[in-house]
């Protein structure tokens, strides 16, 4: 199977290709054409055509086509690259090159389908009821009678996508419905979702020239970030730091999501174990929304032991086993290096390994490695490992007085706070350390798609600005 680049409607077969192989057997799975940054640089000069193609279609029609695309993506057999691909083919291919169990690939598919199926409701929620025509025309009159204008900040959104977490693709699914083209640099080992989604979009009638797929090396990402006025990149804490303060780039890094047990609920901790286990282990712990720490003022040893009893026995299973819950680390040496880092962290004072009794955590394969779920107890928030996040089910149970939690937790993408204490709730709501906040026992991994994630994507793609029309100048305008 060969996946050519897709230059806003034109396939391009490169002389240079990556060869993707099965993470267990080494069997060839696909070749992916690789292009250079300069090719993207050239094509970006015509990015305006991507948006123009979308604006030629009624916005409600676009939403309907996206809903159709969702069905095609989840259930159809599509032309992807030079091959026909069924949903089962997709699941097997994605699992083979990413190391994710097939069951998790399937559940990510369902997530994407859900988002596309509910696109109308999502847009209504994210835009707070703004008529979509306003984004198409650039301005219009709101139901309050006020002229509002939204200015697109870029004709296309560039995305430097990761290889390790097929869950992130939901973030870019609404972009086309907002009248903005998509420019995707697929992850090296996970071209599958971008290619299948693009195929489904186009088959459903989304203009082919509104989508670009540019697989390549880091220079493609660099060109995208430099040449696109709006782009997103998924990366490490270092990547986040590099683009901090650049308004054109939205960086999605580690989430450091957490569960905070309030003093009023912590004595009933056993009632919340299911929520904690799901938050830590869903999707093999790969997401930024997976919890990497539980904070509580007491019972932390008991909580760690109970979590270890639930998570510790989870073992490696073949990717096609419906019970498989652990993804492999497919980059050679990555699992071992991660485990060595954890072992070094475990040596610090006040740190203990709660899953030690459940067998070795590092499992070495012939071509890859795995890390089994790991629960760590920290007597204080001070040890370095208390702030660690890894790409597998890994959680710290940290003892910390409630009064000091918010100053100690650090940046937290999703916080689930189990408390009925109104004062603590008010402090949580005010805390700038927390992005998404769940009050009550809601798993950190359970997202309400009608609410914004890491900022509202409409605010990123559009700028609300003033536009006055002489014929319509409202009374009372300052002159």
């Amino acid at each position: 199977m060969h996946l050519p680049a897709w230059r806003f409607g034109k396939p391009y077969e490169s002389l240079e290709r990556t060869h993707l192989v099965h993470f267990l057997t080494g069997e060839p799975i696909a070749e992916v054409s690789q292009v250079g940054g300069a090719m993207l640089g050239r094509d970006l000069q015509k990015a305006g055509q991507a948006r123009a193609a979308l604006l030629a279609i009624d916005p409600e029609e676009i939403v309907e086509r996206l809903q159709t695309a969702g069905n095609l993506y989840a259930h159809g057999t599509l032309q992807v690259g030079d091959s026909r691909q069924s949903p089962d083919d997709f699941v097997k291919q994605q699992s083979a090159t990413t190391g994710l169990p097939e069951s998790l690939c399937r559940s990510n598919m369902q997530k994407n389908l859900f988002v596309l199926s509910n696109m109308d409701r999502m847009l209504d929620a994210l835009s707070r009821g703004l008529p979509p025509e306003i984004l198409w025309r650039g301005y219009g009159r709101e139901h309050r009678g006020v002229v509002v204008s939204y200015q697109a900040q870029s004709p296309v959104l560039g995305l430097v996508l990761p290889s390790n977490s097929p869950g992130v693709h939901t973030l870019w699914l609404p972009v086309i419905a907002l009248g903005v083209g998509l420019l995707l640099k697929p992850g090296g080992q996970e071209p599958w979702t971008p290619y299948r989604m693009a195929a489904a979009f186009i088959e459903a009638g989304i203009p082919a020239e509104s989508i670009g797929l540019y697989p390549g090396a880091t220079d493609v990402g660099a060109t995208m970030l430099a040449g696109c006025r709006r782009s997103m990149i998924f990366g490490s804490a270092k990547t986040v730091e590099q683009y901090r303060g650049n308004p054109n780039v939205q960086v999605h890094g580690p989430g450091f999501s957490k569960i905070l047990l309030g003093d009023d609920c912590v004595d009933d901790w056993e009632r919340y174990l299911d929520v904690i286990v799901e938050s830590v282990a869903a999707n093999s712990g790969r997401g930024c929304i997976n919890a990497s720490a539980v904070y509580a003022s007491r019972h932390t040893k008991a909580i760690a032991e109970a979590l270890a009893e639930r998570l510790g026995p989870i073992d490696v299973r073949p990717p096609e086993d419906p019970e498989a819950r652990l993804a492999a680390f497919t980059v050679p040496g990555a699992a071992k290096a991660t485990w060595e880092q954890i072992e070094a962290g475990l040596a610090a004072a006040g740190v203990s390994h709660a899953t030690a009794a459940y067998g070795p955590r590092f499992v070495e394969g012939e071509r890859c490695g795995w890390l089994r779920p790991t629960v760590v107890h920290c007597a204080t928030p001070d040890p370095e490992i208390a702030r660690a996040e890894y790409m597998f089910p890994f959680v710290n149970v940290v003892e910390c007085p409630q009064a000091r939690m918010l100053e100690r937790i650090g940046p937290t993408l999703v916080a689930t706070a189990v408390t009925d204490d109104a004062t603590f709730q008010a402090e949580l709501i005010d805390s700038p350390a927390i992005d998404r906040l769940n009050i009550g026992p809601i798993p950190t991994t359970k997202l309400d798609w009608l609410q914004p994630h890491e900022g509202n994507i409409i605010d990123f793609l559009y700028r609300s600005r003033a536009l006055q029309l002489a014929a319509e100048a409202p009374a009372g305008v300052a002159g």
Binding site: L15, E16, R17, V35, G36, D219
Partner: protein, 376 residues
């Protein structure tokens, strides 16, 4: 996951016949003997080699009778090229000549250096013969966009232009600063610096200097072509007919992209070179050959061998992959069997250059992670 060139390589070029290969080999053997006589004679050799010869178990003048006998030398250590005194490398036979020193790398630590009397001029004069007149007309003016400073490139290109009867305009680029920008992650500064270079080039091209030939690197060529495209013009329309370029990012795919989308009909010839070797010309790069870029060293002044990674005294079979081993045999410089930081595939002798070539040149896999390449 590995990036490979998926193109099959039928031998679409004219392979050198056995007689030509044997003739070139005999010339190389004779040249080697002549070079031993020069570099190891007390009246002409340089202090480094005369001193080093005392530690050898053989007499290079008497016991090197052909090129293969150079294997008797222990491996050449590139650390010897770092630091002074640099005069230890100047042959006594040239002691009274004005000398240049050129450096490689140098982002961290003491760079490697090579002294030159007029080797760089000789190298580029010989290379001049490989340039097609149609695209590199004699008397045309040149533009050099690349590093000057401690490198020999600017002086060499300028000499090439002068040797062909032209005048060379120059725009400088400091690769050591570029590497620092990349290492610091200052991508905005990198972009601004690149733009600063390209702006200067466009100013020269628009100033009525009748520049028709150009040296630049692949990355800068891309930037220039895109900048011109934004202005509604092209490299060819700006007057450039011939481009000579170099660097390990010269892949078949990049060349195809440049030919199809950047050059607008201007001719481009890739080269492979460095301060030690001089400059290797390429076989014509054509679509029928899958845009294969195959280089041939300027024998007998320099020899490239593609050697086994583990046994660097034996070459790999034709088409096989190995490390670049370089031997420099000029009267100014003798460097036997220097292992380069590059690897590639061994190519059949070409009619015009009847000795081994190399294609697919890229950073040596064992060192690639530690090197910043393709920076300018």
């Amino acid at each position: 996951m590995a990036t490979v060139n998926s193109t099959a390589k039928p031998p679409v070029f004219e392979v050198a016949d056995d007689a030509a290969v044997a003739g070139a080999r005999a010339a190389l053997d004779a040249h080697t003997v002549e070079m031993m006589a020069w570099h190891f004679h007390p009246s002409t050799g340089c202090p480094f080699w005369l001193d080093y010869a005392r530690s050898l178990s053989f007499d290079p003048i008497k016991e090197v009778g052909c090129y293969d006998d150079l294997k008797k030398f222990p491996p050449f250590e590139d650390e010897w090229l770092r630091g002074g005194p640099v005069r230890r490398w100047i042959p006594k036979g040239f002691a009274d000549q004005p000398a240049y020193v050129f450096e490689t790398g140098g982002t961290t630590g003491v760079p490697k250096s090579r002294v030159n009397i007029r080797d760089f001029r000789t190298d580029y004069e010989q290379f001049s013969d490989t340039l097609p007149e149609e695209f590199f007309p004699r008397g045309a003016n040149w533009l050099m966009l690349g590093p000057s400073g401690p490198r020999r490139l600017r002086l060499s290109i300028e000499h090439l232009a002068q040797f062909r009867g032209g005048i060379c305009f120059c725009v400088d680029l400091d690769p050591r600063w570029v590497i620092k920008l990349i290492q610091k992650g200052w991508m905005e500064h990198l972009e601004a610096y690149k733009q600063h270079c390209i702006d200067q080039v466009i100013t020269i091209l628009e100033a009525g200097h009748d520049v028709r030939c150009m040296f630049t690197t692949p990355k800068l060529l891309e930037s220039l072509a895109l900048a011109l495209e934004k202005k509604g013009t092209t490299i060819r329309k700006a007057g450039i007919t011939g481009i000579f370029s170099g660097g390990t990012e010269f892949t078949p795919q990049w060349t195809r992209f440049a030919v199809e989308e950047l050059l607008d009909g201007a001719y481009m010839t890739p080269t492979y070179g460095n301060t030690l070797m001089g400059l290797a010309a390429s076989r014509p790069v054509v679509p029928a050959d899958g845009y294969t870029i195959a280089y041939y060293a300027p024998q007998p002044r320099a020899v490239i061998e593609v050697v086994n990674f583990d046994d660097t005294n034996s070459v790999v079979p034709y088409g096989g992959t190995g490390r670049v081993k370089l031997t420099t045999l000029t009267k100014e410089t003798f460097v036997p069997g220097f292992l380069e930081r590059d690897e590639g595939e061994r190519e059949l002798p070409y009619a015009k250059y009847p000795w081994d070539g190399i294609s697919g040149v890229r950073p040596f896999r064992a060192l690639a992670g530690a090197t910043t390449v393709g920076v300018y």
